[in-house]
């Protein structure tokens, strides 16, 4: 069995290296389909789009690819929606709630949207384990490859920064996302080496909570890739 390697990666921290904020995700992804998508979902879509080296506005079409799995990590992506829906019901009753918001009431809206957007038909997991969430996503991403459930795994972490999420987190929260594409391959950067290297990376960009560990590993991959002989 070939080793698990990272064959694609991205870090999407708005305000850094030209990364667009969630409300301008259309400039990277194209306009269609973003209505009612929450900021964390938009950031995750941007991170995956960039990790796959897709062009501006480029879309996947055709049938779902059953060999590609998604393992996402986010804790606060839909808390603002949930609180807003309750406020709307209190103010104007249930009929005032838009049915378009319905998918966002479910905590797996982020991972499901990534699958639907990019046509990933393999196992789809939404980790919401708090601070450890990113580490769990990385572990389960490798597990899905080892157990033969997928031949490619998209690991993506994203957190928003909005009034509800910020209040709940009670510490400065940095909105951001990162993505790793994992495969059994002879090419790319060793996944285990990247995880090891990530331990030594100073987390200077702020606190992205459930996305933090995935951002660290993506930055480690980037550093290791630059060291590799061409």
């Amino acid at each position: 069995m070939k080793p698990i390697t990272v064959t694609g990666w991205s870090v999407h921290l708005p305000g850094t290296d030209g990364a667009c904020p969630p409300e301008q995700a259309n400039t990277l992804l194209g306009r269609k389909g973003l209505l009612m998508k929450e900021p964390a979902t938009r950031l995750a879509l941007c991170a995956v789009h960039r990790a796959l080296n897709m062009g501006t506005g480029e879309r996947k079409d055709g049938p779902a690819d059953p060999g590609t799995a998604v393992v996402a990590s986010s804790n606060l992506g839909n808390v603002e929606t949930v609180v807003d829906v309750v406020a709307t019901v209190a103010a104007d009753g249930g009929k005032a709630v838009s049915p378009m918001v319905a998918p966002n009431a479910s905590s797996n809206v982020l991972s499901g949207t990534v699958a639907q957007w990019f046509k990933f038909g393999g196992p789809n997991l939404m980790l919401c384990s708090g601070r450890d969430s990113g580490a769990h996503a990385l572990r389960l991403g490798a597990l899905l490859l080892r157990s033969g459930r997928a031949n490619r795994v998209i690991v993506v972490g994203a957190e928003p920064s909005d009034p509800v999420a910020d209040r709940l987190y009670a510490k400065p929260l940095r909105a951001g996302a990162a993505c790793l594409v994992l495969e059994h391959s002879d090419h790319g950067v060793s996944f285990s080496q990247a995880r090891e290297h990530a331990r030594g990376i100073a987390q200077t960009w702020g606190d992205c909570y459930g996305a933090q560990d995935i951002i660290s590993v993506a930055l480690a991959v980037s550093a290791l890739h630059q060291e590799q002989p061409a």
């Binding site: 949930v82 998918p103 393999g122 196992p123 597990l143």
Partner: protein, 376 residues
Amino acid sequence: MAPWARQSSGGGVVAALIAASSLLTCLGDGERTFASLLKGITGVGPLRHPVPGPINVNAGYHIPGRSMDGYAGDLLSGCVTQALADARLDLAEHRVVAIVGTGLRELAAVEQGNLTDPERLHFGQSVPGIAEVMTIANACSAGGHALALAQDMVETGEADAVVVGAADVMTASMLAMIGRVAEQPSDQVRPFDKDRPGVLLGEGAAAVVVVGENWAGPKLAKLLYTGLSCDAFHETAPDINGICRAIDEAYARSGRHPRDTDLVLAHGTGTALNDPTECEALRRSVIAYGGNPLITGIKGAVGHMSGGAALANVDVALRCMSGGEVPAVAGLREVLPEGADLNIVKDAPATHAPKLIQLNAFGFGGVNAVTLLESA
């Protein structure tokens, strides 16, 4: 055997085992729930969950006496403690991980303004004695996804045992969404009924202990395989192709044939879209291969337990195996036309001790988990 069926080092197909199962529903613990199912008793009642305005939902499946500002994790802790005791699993002797499936996490506490620590949104503090707790928010098939990962961990040697948990209470936001798309308020979940009025939520929790095939303790059943797929098609509507991929994978990877299946514990949410789609999926992936299993579902009695739905089905399946009776679908009056040719258990329990059982769980986001259990 299917060409891609998994091989253990000894040459046989590897399988995990279920060492213990614990359940809590609106009808009580696993034993009481099953007894009520056999009698056709349903746990539906007036909606007690606090909602701040009219939402077009007025019924639910509540655990009697539960405080409406309590945490789902409190329900989970009791189930985990019971399952660990029943399995006689020594946490000091084995490498044990917990994977908890949930639809709505502790979002009810966020809505009610009670949650001030973000680390209480997940179930890390709700699994006594286990340090590593993964919370998987995979909607209505979360428990099935957790089962799949537990088996993978045990088979790859990443863990000696995995405690698979699930827990959900209701959220006002999800209730509002259910009411928003319902024509009339649903009086009861009526799976596979011609005039099904729609889904209602059920509170509850469950825990299952998954171990490897060399386990020397109690063995309730073989956990053969859980097929996973994502429709990648629509956020809330089911897709038959995605569902059939999960079913087909479960059979192919476990080396079992659909014609040998005795019972299907259906997802059966009693919604306009799920039930006809599920009937067609069973025709395409089970009946078409010569299978003619009994089909039943429990949501008419316990409501839709969201992340706990798949594990509730596991507990009921184990009791069908050991007790030789299969409960009828509670709330079912007249079978929907799309299921008229299927062997749906109606009105009275069927006397049958199933050996091979298929458990369906499908969720928002098009996430599907189809589990095969076999008597040990």
